[in-house]
Amino acid sequence: MKSFASVNLSQKVFSRLLVLYPRGYREEFGPHMSQLFKDCSREALALRGTTGLITLWLATLPDLFKTAFEENFKEITHMSKEKFHRLGKWAFVLGAALFLLAFMIGSMETSTEDPFGGPDALIEYFKLGIGPLAMLLFFVGIASLRSAYGDAAGSIAKTMLSISAIGSLAGGIGAIGTGLMLSGEPWWHLFIGGAMFMLLGIGVFGIYCMQRKVLPGLNWLFALGGLTLPLLSLAQIVFQLATDSQVNPAVWLSQLALGVTTLALLAAGLQLQGEKATTSKATR
């Protein structure tokens, strides 16, 4: 009778201590942990009496504190990660929308030299602030893409997303410099170079998304949005080197590439909404 009371008391105290775990975890596993501890208490008492019970408690308490701390830590980081992913997806969409907006406004701009607007007018709006803001939003969006889908897409895609994020930061700095007209060309080159690396990183990530089917559909959108402009630039460089000329692509071709890029990135960002992230599965 006395031993029965000791086991019950032991289980009650243990059950109270389960309050240290996060609520969801406690509700899911608390009763089973409590039952397990009751079984252990019964066994310890039967084999070694009160000494056995004390030894059991001494072994169980550090384990309980350690795992409760770990579960609370996981809960907190998981919550902030979820928030970051949600925020990042919207940042990506807004960044792409700003790109599209800048492109559309740029296209409306007319001048005698460039009757249909286009890249030149777009540059002017970038100078005004849309560029830096879009790049900053892309930086947040790409960082969250890397965190949410990097593991599923593979290590190369993950590295390319890191390069992409660095590119967006460099591009943003370049855009600010260009906007402030600090010293012209170097800032402009930093902006263009940063943007190209940003797009290239997204494009390679898109290829791995297609290969590994990271998203349920339209995985190719990232590849299309990311690779169109870098491929056009590459074709231009190859052409210029081969013909030893300084011929640039026709304005309509640049506009088309820019349009495809912005629309594809916007569609890719919208597709991410409502999509649950696939995170790392390592059991360590």
Binding site: F14, Y25, E28, F29, P31, H32, M33, Q35, L36, F37, D39, C40, A59, T60, D63, L64, K66, T67, A68, E70, E71, A152, R212, K213, V214, L215, P216, E275, K276, T278, K281, A282, T283, R284
Partner: protein, 121 residues
């Protein structure tokens, strides 16, 4: 959408996870049953406490390595509040992959003449 998990993506396993998988290989068990089996199969070297055991179980369920089951080996003899677990197809593949990993590691150690008794040049 969840990308398909390859067994190798889940390696290396922690000793607790590997021993829980081994404990569930031959039959379904509840928490206490797993604990006793692990203790027995390691000759008392590893004793899983409630916190560590259920932390590992939670993670293994999330990863699809084990699952809960409503079946009871003998309902008349068992407390229906207990939850039983069984290993899944993925769990078996992960265990095999871990065995293969350990086999290669052991072969490497033997090549380097590292034994349980020390290093022999």
């Amino acid at each position: 959408m969840k990308a398909t998990t390859a067994p190798h993506d889940l390696l290396p396993l922690t000793p607790a996870v590997f021993h829980i998988l081994l404990a569930l290989m031959d039959q379904e068990r509840h928490g206490y049953g797993i604990m006793k089996e692990v203790e027995q199969q390691t000759e008392g070297e590893m004793v899983l406490r409630p916190g560590t055991l259920y932390q590992a179980i939670k993670r293994m369920i999330e990863l699809g390595m084990i699952e809960e089951t409503d079946d009871r080996p003998d309902p008349a003899l068992d407390d229906e509040r207990r939850r039983y677990y069984r290993v899944t197809g993925l769990g078996r593949k992960v265990a095999s992959a871990e065995v293969d990993r350990l086999r290669k590691l052991l072969a490497l150690a033997r090549n380097k003449q590292v034994t349980a008794f020390g290093i022999y040049p």
